[in-house]
Symmetry: C2
């Protein structure tokens, strides 16, 4: 797939010999920095043994320590896969405690009634493009979806792109952005029309033919779901390429309507009511994501 | 500004007492993980001294070690600001060696002539949404712009959003996304028309009134610049709010036309020619960014 075509990997920045025989705490730090910067990338043990001039046994000790550090910080874990084709990789995660804090932060921001735009619309662009919110939402989705064997993270422009891009990075996967209008710069595209509950209009979405390959798997990430029409649309347009949707994550889910056009999705927050008359926005955390 | 309204900070996930008297190498790792996850966030020394039950002197030792690790890995540095209002923060960076590798990776990907769409257009969406490319381009821009005292990172939808969002995260700043069409969900907006050299058409862009505050400073990040019309447009629309542009970063700059509508921009790559007849795409690294 194209994602592979453009994949390039971060190698060490210096002659290996320079960093041999480092003191343990410095070595552990350098190892951790490299792992954290390459989420879900599988490294052969040899890579680190040669780079730091250490035996497999010392590497195992270092990895165990890094794993303890990450788990204690609620930042994920280091997975060691034994045997041929095995290796070491960092899997981003987030603790239940940190998800709760994320939810509290989002709820505080969303409860600001000056966000009300009328027609039960809320201004949320600043939230969806806030770096710290994005980072922790992406960690939450990555923790949930890392084991699904997906090949892409997919979203539709515009407000979900920040979260989707960070989730793709955390999962080490390419991001595919579906456009509203077929753009010349996308080359030949496939388009579909779908009914959007939020806007109560027929809407269009369009995907570049070369963006995905048949038979692959996708995780869909979006900022908001009301009826699920646009998520269903993404599923359908991916289906046109025989790409299977294996997971759906949305930042905010509307409690209304109760019946959604997609199932098996996870959300971080649920908005139960936007009461414009009494200036109340009722938001609650989705407990099931913790 | 709104960015502040929605800011929430990552605190420690556990009772401080639990982590007192940690072995040094574990403590350093936990400290480093927290710093790396909160780029450009200023921490009071007290925060870490209390969290790990250590004296300022041991903290300084730990910080020095972390700084050595990051510098050796070409991942940035830890800045210690003395005195009142001072503290410790992680400033993301990238080594010259890694920028070169980024440029090589991008050039290899861009030289694929199947990207040619005609009319000197190239398909680049897969590159602009590739997580590893995004991460290192964002590091490059963050290293370049972190000291400009900007309040926002600004981009215009769609293909630059991934890079801009990651740059904003690295700088600890909110991202503002300018839309092509005024969307209802943006609330009241200000729109301008501008001449786009790439499309040779009058185009429109639109920004939410509540997205920025007068008197602030912005860094503009975009995926591609030909004549600079759209960047000029962003500068102008920000100017409508008395927001000053203090830096401009683009992933790819076209060598043609030589005269651009904006100055003082940095680019990572320069495309000199897209020769459709002979199937050649001439791309070179921009040496001045290193």
């Amino acid at each position: 797939m194209l994602g592979e075509k453009v994949k390039y990997t971060l190698q060490s920045d210096y002659d290996h010999s320079e960093v041999r025989f480092l003191k343990k705490n410095k070595r552990v730090g350098m190892l951790m920095d490299e792992l954290l910067q390459n989420p879900c990338r599988l490294y052969e043990s040899r890579h680190f043994c040669e780079k730091y001039g250490i035996a497999k046994s010392s590497l195992s000790e270092d990895i165990k320590l890094i794993n303890d550090i990450l788990q204690e910080n609620g930042s994920g874990c280091v997975e060691s896969i034994q045997g041929a084709g095995g290796g070491i990789r960092y899997i981003p995660g987030i603790s239940a405690e940190r998800i709760r804090r994320l939810q509290e932060g989002l709820i505080e921001a969303l409860s600001d009634t000056t966000r009300m735009l009328g027609g039960k619309y809320l201004y949320t662009s600043d939230i969806m493009f806030n770096g710290q919110f994005i980072a922790d939402m992406a960690r939450t989705f990555a923790q949930k979806f890392h084991s699904l064997g997906a090949d892409y993270v997919v979203t539709v422009e515009t407000k979900g792109i920040g979260i989707a891009a960070q989730t793709a990075y955390m999962l080490g996967l390419p991001l595919v952005v579906i456009r509203r209008e077929a753009k010349y710069s996308e080359g030949s595209t496939v388009s579909i029309n779908y009914f959007s509950g939020s806007t109560e209009r027929i809407q269009k979405m369009s995907i570049a033919k070369r963006a995905v390959e048949p038979g692959r798997k996708a995780i869909i990430i979006d900022d908001f779901m009301r009826g699920g029409g646009s998520l269903k649309g993404i599923q359908d347009i991916l289906g046109e390429f025989d790409v299977e949707t294996v997971g759906i994550g949305v930042a905010i889910e509307a409690g209304f309507p109760e019946k959604k056009k997609v199932k098996d999705y996870v959300s971080i927050l649920i908005i139960d009511e936007i009461d414009e008359e009494n200036h109340v926005i009722s938001v609650r955390p989705n407990e099931t994501i913790i």
